[in-house]
Amino acid sequence: MAANIVILSSSPPRPALDRTSMSPSPGLPSPSVLIQRTISAGSPRSSELPRNAIEAFKSGTALPRDGVTQEDRTRKPKPAKMTEPANGAPVGKGKKTMKNGAVPGKTGKQTGIKQMKVTKVLRNTSISQLDGKQYASKSELTVHEHSASLSGVVNEVTSDDHGLHLSKVMRRKVNWTPPKNTPVVDLSMTPLTSPTSVENQLEESTFDSCPEKSLKDLMASFGYRQEERPSSAAVLPGPLAGNGTRKRQWTELINPPSVVAPTSGETLINRIPLEETAPVKAADNEIVSIELALSETGPEEITQEQAFKGRVARKTPRSRAPRRKPKTVTQQATRPYDTRPPSPAPVLRHLAQQRIESHKDVGVEITALKSIPPPKRSHKARADKGADKVGPTPRRKRSKESESPSVLLSPRSALEKVGEQDILFGTSSQLAEERLPTLAPLLPAPSELDIFPSESRGVKNLIGREPQKRILPYSPTGGLWSAASRGLDGALMEAEVIDLATTPKARNALGSAAKVTMPVAPDQSLRVAAAPPNRKESWAQADENKALPVCPDDHMIEATKKNQAGSGPSRAHRLQNRVPDTAVATNVSSVFRNQPTPVDSPNIRLSKPDFTGYSTSQLSSELLSYGFKPIKSRNQMIMLLEKCWEGRMSRVAPKTPGPSASMPTPEQIENSRPTGGEPLVAEGPHRPTTMKQTRQSQNTSSISIISSCGVSSKTSECGPREDLLARRKNTPSNGPGPGTTNITSPKKARGRNKKLVATGGSGSPPDDEAWGRVGGVAKIAGQGVSPGGVGRLEINDLKADVLSSVSCTPSTEDPPLGASTAPTPSLSDEAKQQRRFDHITRAIVSQAQPKDAPAMPNFHQKILMYDPIVLEDLAAWLNTKGLADIGVDAEVGAAEVRAWCEQNSVCCLWKESLWRGTRSRHG
């Protein structure tokens, strides 16, 4: 029942016993007396306390308590006494007379504790009654809770002695106390802390406490506390409420007390700064801890471990409350104030931190029992020391603000977090699917982007958040893809992705392309870096852009974007703009979709590829990408490819400026295209009309699509949307048929081969005509840093079935990170399939003539004679012999063979029939 004893001694008079007496002069025993008692009581752990600790306890208890008590006396005589019937052993402190009624395990103590708090409240404000009610309602508190409450009371009392903090405390309580706070009993470390330092600090705190100043200090201290203990709304009630559970948890974690003792010194040291910064609270803590230590000496309902736990709980709970819920967004919200190195990937970081913290906590508790000096804590403490009390106040506000959001996250941020989580743990398909939900929340949150200009974004991502500057998550716009693009440490996983997407060709382009300083989320990746960093205008995200089917040669999309330094349109605006942009892009693509444009990733290479090194199949596929049918002669194919490449390069070359730091290369853009980026944006095609309106209204950016089919576009670079639209209208659809169906068709949307080439002349305004000339290449060029720069997006697609969306983020900082393998795969899928079909055809055609042809025709002959082909047999033959004979190392399934048969109008059937089993007649 040590706890009880402690409570009695330290805590002001019990409510039940004596309300009136409590307030004026809580008869708390002096720490020395208390300690002596405890020692005399013979608690096994009393020995752990250093001798000199008594002084510290003394001083510590005296200060806060005195302050409280004095005020109580002077202002509110009402408050109940601290008299405790059972123990009746008051621990008197110099100024305050406090009764230290340490009666173990008595209910009366509990009531007394409550009383104490109530009285305090009363002293400070009229609201005190409420507190009293609250406390009264909590009659069922456990012993630990009581001890906690007692400690709080003691602190206040000590402060009263100096006339310092009572009012503030009350106010603090009022302001801060949320109904149920976990916090609580900081039992653990105080006894161990070095007395001198504690005393000093306590004294300082107490002396400083003039009512006015004390308020500030109080606030500051709260702010500090908040950082540590975000949840700490109410000092007293909170701890009481949450204490029990925590204590149990802690008990489990905590190791035998023996370990605790040595660490106490550390905790003390750590504590000191904190106390300085927040004098009142620190003092309280100290006192509480001391009291607890004393209580430990008393009867053992509460073990020392528990006491330590309680202390830790009290101390830590506030500070660690967020940590305990690392999965929630709150921790992230409070992170900015945390000095720990921020990691961009929120969820993972959370988890990791959580683990670390948990380990930390455990370790600390086990070893030190108390003060885990988390870097931030120590850091802040130091800062507070140096800064004074004034410094912390703003912080406190901030922390308060941050806390409130942390507790109540805006739906946007919450969704964002959720999205990030999904990204982290979900599959790409899931991500793609879930983009929709996340997008909505993103729309209303323009502030993030505004807050973080594109430039800063990159920095932010790289560096991590600066705690004090930014509260918002690192990548506001990022969304799922952005989150997914980052590793656990928040670093972008760019290199691999880029390589995959671009293939060797892209790499070359990348070399010349603008630097990608910033890691960009995949969705952002589409945004072309060409735009100046400040530029907020971002195109619809290119995630869906896989299908940006714009005829390379024929069409250009110019995105003219307004550069806004800092004060750009809100993100909402941007988003709105995005939609139209994408819509335009899709429309354009749809218009030109049918054109057989030879857009292939290989085409975009800056350096001439060595076609001779290609395999025949690769050559054929390359030719296919250019719209040519495979040619028998390999040399001819190579020559043709070279010509094609030269032709393309000749177009592109004049326009591509030298390597501009800020401008992303087309390849980059290609690479940056995320497969599954934000789908909503990609669905722009559905709202072509709205785009125009929004564009005009926003006037932030304009995208012009130029169909340059052989004709240089007349539109000015910065041409407004209207130009684009007009052009679009005017441009005849080259495709044989309108591709509307294709656009709508979901399948096509996915697997498109599109190329985006962003050519950025950083300083030079792009030449429209030049752009127009460049065919077959999609260029997105944002003018480097210059405001009002024009970002151009040139998109070429041979068969642009679907133009999902092209989001050009002008910011150079956003590098095309997204592994844009997705766009290529779709096209490559078709090409692959066709290639396989070609292989099958070749294998069949080249099948050796059977010796006895008429009787046993081979598959080719069977097909020529309209014989039904048994799919299994053909597949088996192909896999065993047919494909191998033509030098193709591949396997085909019966289903694929069936597809081939259907493509070639070959009558085929399965050997296994539905009704009769195996067919025997037809083969």
Binding site: V845, A853, P854, P857, L864, Y866, N904, S905, C907
Partner: protein, 385 residues
């Protein structure tokens, strides 16, 4: 048995019974068949049905729709899909109204059928002596029926279909004769030597053209003509020897007969030509091919059409996709009766009856079929009427 529908359309030219059955199923299940892509599909795969009582909406697989336009639309679609587009199919209409609807549909469709697919309005032509008896009079015996069949073959209508090897008789004769001359053959395409016993030698059906080539070589040649190098199955092309425009199906038909149906070939060649008519109507008389599958298919069609008719309006008699098998190598039964009994009977059982009925109902007096082509069912049908 009275069949209250009218044969208005038939698709012929299937290279095999399996092909015919596949096409038939696809046509009758256009809402399900995978031959039609989702984008192209006309008939929805599923329909929403609202139960009258509870108002609960159920999604159920759609049943094949029986409307004429749907049928024709799906037919048009199937003839365009990759799976069937290169088959040597023909569409024959026996009703002008339906044919008109088809034309309208065709005009509506953006895509056109492959050129090789023939769509003809094959109305029955009246024979000079016909019409006296009128359609109503059922033939009382087999002899007149056979005679009627002979007479009507090639004269349009369902009765005029020649499903035998008659049309290729000359071609077969020429080929046999050419190959029988023991002199070495040279492939007209690859100029390689050919052994007709070991190689599949394709010959030009053109009279007087002695061009022969490997089947594979010729196919390559045809594909080259079609500029469809990626495909494997040609449809038509130019004879490398005489440069005549040839249908691949005809070449293969003769080749298959020669290679696989020696008995049939013998019988075909053994028979004297009845009439030196251009259409070789005699061929059909002499050779009767009654593949079992054909019977099955016929019966299936009959059933289907019956169902359709019950469901639909009388006038919108759905076209039954009577599949005609011009050549079926594996399982034809050769009946050298000197009569086209089987063929006729097969055809008539299903089709002619309907046709005659249709004609009876719609024709004016005196325009009936002079030669009655009735099967035994007709009597009962008449009685019922």
């Amino acid at each position: 048995m009275l069949r209250p529908w009218e044969m208005v359309c038939i698709v012929t030219g299937f290279p095999s019974n399996i092909a015919a059955l596949q096409f038939e199923w696809a046509w009758q299940n256009a809402h399900l068949t995978r031959k039609i892509s989702a984008l192209q599909r006309i008939t929805p795969a599923k329909t929403l049905q609202t139960s009258p009582g509870s108002g609960h909406i159920r999604r159920r697989p759609a049943s094949s729709r029986v409307y004429l336009t749907d049928r024709l639309g799906n037919l048009h679609l199937l003839l365009r899909v990759q799976s069937f587009t290169r088959w040597p199919l023909e569409v024959r209409f026996f009703n002008e109204d339906v044919y008109r609807v088809w034309q309208q549909w065709t005009q509506r469709e953006a895509e056109r059928l492959r050129d090789g697919i023939k769509v003809v309005l094959d109305l029955k032509r009246e024979l000079p002596g016909a019409g006296k008896e009128g359609d109503d009079t059922p033939p009382s015996s087999q002899a007149p029926r056979r005679r009627a069949k002979k007479a009507t073959c090639g004269n349009g209508g369902i009765e005029g279909l020649d499903v035998g090897f008659g049309p290729i008789r000359e071609h077969a004769e020429k080929s046999v004769k050419m190959l029988a001359e023991r002199k070495p053959l040279e492939c007209a395409v690859c100029r390689g030597e050919m052994n007709h016993q070991k190689d599949l030698v394709a010959t030009c059906p053109t009279e007087g053209c002695m061009a022969a080539s490997h089947l594979t070589c010729l196919s390559r040649h045809f594909l080259t003509c079609e500029s469809e190098k990626r495909l494997i199955l040609p449809t038509e092309g130019m004879c490398p020897g005489c440069f005549a425009h040839l249908r691949w199906a005809n070449i293969v038909k003769e080749l298959a007969l020669r290679v696989r149906g020696k008995k049939d070939l013998e019988k075909l060649l053994k028979k004297p030509r009845v009439g030196s008519g251009k259409k070789s109507s005699g061929g059909s008389k002499e050779v009767a091919i009654a593949p079992s599958a054909f019977d099955e298919e016929e019966s299936d069609q009959t059933e289907d059409s019956t169902v359709e008719d019950r469901e639909g309006e009388a006038l919108e008699l759905q076209s039954t996709d009577g599949t005609d098998e011009p050549f079926y190598y594996h399982e034809y039964s050769y009946i050298d009766e000197g009569d086209d009994d089987d063929v006729v009977s097969v055809a008539s059982t299903g089709n002619e009856t309907r046709l005659s009925e249709f004609h009876t109902t719609r024709r004016e007096k005196g325009k009936g079929v002079d030669v009655v082509i009735e099967d035994s069912d007709w009597d009962s049908a008449e009685v019922l009427d």
